[in-house]
């Protein structure tokens, strides 16, 4: 039998405000954003915090939405399922996403994340402008700006992990920290 208490307790101890596991659709993103906006209103967050968290949420969720096409789970089945969590501890929000990734795509993603993490605030600004203006547009319209924008808006390093499941796929976890502006 599923141990619901175990899951509840785990989420409770990790201060999870919202969590979702399943197919990431456009309608789901609309709902999650609405729920989080209401939650932050109820928690009486200041508008600076709300805007930061909302912006970063949009980018994280749309990353998931756009990059799950090739995802295959450990059994080799096509699986558009992913996990998304948002936690609040002390003065910061943590946005956590997890999804399967083909092992062959790890190298490219890892080097993009490392490139972004190596840059200072001013370098990120210049990098953002050069990618914005490079005339390239991915089919999905993202154009490679998402991670740069997240790093720029949060002022934090992108924390990530690749957990190898088998010789084909790994599970990619991304943790984004958004510190409340007045506490910086």
């Amino acid at each position: 039998m599923i141990d619901a208490f175990n899951i509840y307790d785990n989420m409770d101890r990790n201060n999870i405000l919202l969590s979702f596991k399943g197919d990431i659709t456009s309608e789901l993103l609309t709902s999650i954003l609405q729920i989080m906006e209401n939650k932050m209103d109820n928690m009486q967050e200041d508008s600076k915090t709300k805007k930061k968290v909302y912006n970063v949420l949009v980018e994280c969720l749309q990353n998931l939405y756009h990059h799950m096409d090739d995802a295959t789970d450990g059994n080799g089945d096509k699986n558009r399922s992913a996990i998304f969590m948002i936690a609040k501890t002390g003065g910061s929000y943590n946005i956590i996403t997890g999804n399967y990734i083909l092992n062959e795509n790890i190298h490219g993603l890892k080097s993009r994340l490392d490139d972004v993490n190596a840059l200072s605030k001013d370098q990120l600004k210049d990098y953002y402008k050069s990618v914005l203006n490079n005339g390239e547009m991915s089919l999905k319209g993202g154009g490679g700006l998402g991670m740069i924008d997240i790093a720029r808006k949060t002022g934090e390093k992108l924390e990530y992990n690749f957990l190898e499941i088998d010789n084909k796929v790994s599970f990619f976890t991304l943790i984004i920290k958004v510190t409340q502006p007045q506490l910086i």
Binding site: S26, L29, T30, L33, Q34, S47, K48, K51, K52, Y54, N55, V58, E59, Q62, Y65, H66, K125, Y128, K129, L132, N133, M137, K140, G141, G142, G143, L145, G146, I148, D149, K153
Partner: protein, 126 residues
């Protein structure tokens, strides 16, 4: 076509383009998953306008949020406006931002650095 208007949704902005008056307004949120599809009609309308532009064109941008998918499309819109400006219509882009929204001000400054059109940063109260 004298007016081009699109009603806003939770993920897309309200757009109103008064072609007779030479006034384009984009307001609200721009966070669609597919922004190319959303912005294409506006880019096309600007293309058409460029062949018969007014002596002055005023552009008011007042976005609460926009995603990175929209940011390249907004740049495309601004590039069209830059061409219209070069073509003889005096274009002004008024970039509105809420007073505590430094990220939105910075985003406007990024565009200002890339696009050769007069930009005005307009602070609005929350």
């Amino acid at each position: 076509m004298e007016k081009y208007a699109i009603e806003g949704t939770p993920k897309t902005p309200t757009i109103s383009f008064d072609i007779q008056g030479g006034i384009l307004e984009i307001k609200g949120r721009s966070i669609p998953e597919n922004s190319i599809e959303f912005y294409k009609p506006l880019v096309d309308a600007l293309d058409k306008y460029s062949t018969a532009s007014k002596p002055a064109t005023t552009v008011n941008i007042q976005l609460e949020y926009f995603n990175t998918s929209s940011s390249k499309c907004i740049l495309d819109v601004f590039k069209k406006l830059e061409a219209i400006h070069k073509g003889g219509s005096a274009v002004t882009i008024n970039w509105h931002y809420e007073e505590d929204d430094e990220d939105m001000l910075e985003a406007g400054e990024d565009y200002q650095a890339i696009i050769n059109v007069p930009f005005k940063m307009v602070q609005v109260a929350e």
